[in-house]
């Protein structure tokens, strides 16, 4: 726990005594000649919204891919609940309780909300039918409706193919899937990029609600005012390294931009 800023000092949810639920240490990742990450560090604690910001090419997407199991680091360590883990695939991340809302949402547009939320994890009917692989569609539909209600996702027709939903509703399906299955961490990559003001605010409401349930939410966003309004902690990436960590109270738009552009170098000794 040598983060420069003990961001959570004032907040009992992450008082710095517990280990981060998800942590990356000295991660390197190269694509061809491009060094996407150069010794990057990152940490997320249970019960907090931690924002990951940085200019284009700072390595945010790469770091997210490593944490969600889509790609693997060249060197460095990923720790989950304090112990090193190898997250070899998205399924491996899911088994740890880590769910990701991808920027492209990763939905199957021709399937309905329930089918998308349960994709790859469909419950089967009991008995012989289940042995034959018969889906329990009612269970999926009922739980999906409950999850939509819990999260305040207004989808009138749960049997409508996702392709026919509005952008906000589609985002809602992707967020609901993550919220339903995640038990530890939700990673959200630009969850509001395609949304209007009202819809964005509602997604952020869901983010807070998930946080209050005790999960860690990792939020990647370009929208600085949004980050400042919802994040408990903000970590800034620049040129493949973490260059600054702010708590909500000390972060300002100016300091974030300064860190992102290199005008401010806080250093990173964790």
């Amino acid at each position: 726990m040598t983060d420069i800023v003990q961001a959570g000092a004032s907040n009992s949810r992450f008082d710095g005594s517990a280990a981060p639920i998800l942590e990356a240490r000295a991660i390197n990742k190269t694509y061809g000649h491009v060094e996407a990450l150069r010794g990057a560090n990152f940490s997320a604690y249970a019960g907090e919204v931690v924002a990951l910001v940085g200019d284009n090419g700072a390595g945010k997407s790469t770091l997210i891919k490593l944490l969600s199991g889509v790609a693997q680091p060249d060197s460095g360590q990923i720790l989950f609940e304090g112990s090193p883990v190898h997250i070899g695939s998205p399924s491996a991340a899911q088994r740890l309780g880590i769910e990701t809302v991808y920027q492209d949402l990763a939905l199957a547009p021709d399937l309905d909300g329930a089918a998308n939320i349960y994709l790859g994890r469909e419950p089967l009917r009991s008995g012989v039918l289940g042995k034959l692989g018969v889906l329990d569609k009612r269970a999926m539909r009922d739980q999906t409706t409950r999850t939509f209600t819990d999260l305040g996702i207004g989808i009138r027709d749960p049997s409508a193919a996702v392709a026919y939903l509005s952008g906000g509703q589609r985002q809602g399906v992707a967020v609901a899937r993550a919220a339903l299955w995640a038990s530890k961490v939700i990673i959200m990559d630009e969850p509001t990029a395609a949304l209007g003001v009202v819809q964005s605010e509602r997604v952020l409401d869901v983010v807070r609600r998930v946080r209050d349930r005790g999960l860690a939410v990792v939020l990647v966003s370009h929208n600085m005012p949004q980050v400042l309004s919802v994040a408990d902690r903000i970590q800034v990436l620049r040129l493949g390294r973490r260059v600054a960590t702010f708590s909500r109270v000390e972060a300002t738009l100016e300091s974030l931009v300064a860190a992102m552009t290199g005008a401010l170098e806080q250093g990173d000794d964790s």
């Binding site: 399937l111 009138r156 509602r202």
Partner: protein, 362 residues
């Protein structure tokens, strides 16, 4: 698939004051709803109505001939073999793939099944009177050959990432060429007559064996498509393979299974065709692939993948068969059938395009 958690974690209820999505601008217009019901491929209603109209027209114009039990039986028998190819093709097209090789795989399966029956039945002189042992050996080999071609198709497509159109165009030629090599281009006759008398032209009560087998296979695979995890993954992969992959679905393995299924059903088609004609029909299946694709597409399955129903495919198989049969009875040149089917095919794809355009922009 089993290692992933199958129960969502326990979670506290959270109250939700606001709705995440805007509700106002969402209700579709009346026309959108009507057209969605009529033309969307999940309810291929218009094409079913078209079939009913065709049957009604012929039935009114020539009631005695068209609705006679003999003619209805003929229609079903004519549809049986194409149905097997189309059932497999439905799965393949829902994954956004295509299988041009089905007709050739049917031929080579039939040829090898016939060769095995004759060899196991004691050679060309004695095979005609052979019993069930050689027949079942031949059937097993026919099915196995179909399955193997399917596995080859699927492996080339999934593992090497080659386009299905090219892979199956290649195996289309290879399978037909091998059939010609094996037979010298001469159809294999002299198979056990027992096969022809039972599966080929025999009946179970009033129902021909061919029709019964085709019906059972169609219903079983229709249920698999719509009710099971296998079917769900088929749709998911056709809809967005990357999403399916990230959801933990083994996309490559599933694609191999889907093409293997199409191959297996082509092998079954080969066996049924062999039983019906009591000889191989090497030169008779060059356009079977297009017939099956047309049936599936007319039935509302999207060539872009992700959408389709087995019911639609059944209707799509029957429309050409009923048309051909009806036109013959009406003493109209049956070549008109091809003209009408071409038009219906274009219409079906047009409706699919309309449906895709009706999707909201991201």
């Amino acid at each position: 698939m089993s290692s992933v958690q199958n129960e969502p974690p326990e979670q506290a209820d959270v109250s939700a004051p606001a709705a995440l999505a805007d509700g106002q601008s969402e209700s579709p217009t009346l026309w959108q709803r009507v057209s969605a019901t009529l033309f969307s491929s999940t309810s291929p209603l218009w094409i079913f109505i078209a079939l009913v109209v065709i049957v009604a027209v012929f039935g009114v114009l020539r009631p005695s001939a068209f609705l006679s039990s003999f003619d209805i039986k003929t229609i079903f028998i004519d549809a049986a073999v194409v149905m097997m190819l189309s059932v497999g093709m439905t799965f393949v097209i829902i994954t956004a793939g295509i299988d041009l090789s089905v007709g050739s795989v049917l031929v080579i399966s039939g040829v090898l099944a016939a060769k095995v029956m004759i060899a196991a039945g004691g050679g060309a002189a004695h095979a005609a009177t052979a019993g069930w042992g050689p027949i079942f050996a031949g059937i097993a080999v026919g099915l196995l050959v179909g399955l193997l071609w399917g596995v080859i198709n699927g492996s080339l497509i999934a593992l090497l990432g080659l386009p299905p159109l090219i892979v199956t165009l290649g195996t289309f030629g290879m399978a037909l060429g091998l059939a010609d090599v094996i037979t010298g281009g001469v159809d294999v006759a002299g198979i056990p007559t027992k096969l022809g008398n039972t599966i080929g032209s025999g009946q179970v009560g009033p129902i021909p064996w061919l029709v019964l087998i085709a019906a059972v296979v169609t219903i079983v695979f229709g249920l698999i498509l719509h009710m099971t995890r296998f079917g769900r993954y088929t749709y998911a992969i056709g809809s967005n393979p990357e999403s399916a992959r990230r959801a933990g679905i083994n996309v490559n393995w599933h694609l191999i299974k889907v093409y293997a299924l199409a191959g297996l059903l082509s092998g079954l088609g080969g066996v049924l065709s062999l039983a019906y004609f009591t000889t191989t029909t090497i030169s008779g299946h060059a356009t079977d692939n297009l017939t099956a694709i047309a049936a599936v597409v007319i039935g509302g399955t999207s060539l872009f993948g992700g959408r389709g129903t087995m019911f639609g495919t059944v209707v799509g198989v029957f429309i050409p068969v009923v048309l051909a049969s009806g036109l013959v009875i009406m003493n109209v040149q049956s070549f008109w059938q091809q003209v009408v089917i071409g038009a219906i095919l274009i219409l079906a794809v047009y409706f699919d395009q309309l449906r895709r355009r009706a999707r909201l922009r991201p």
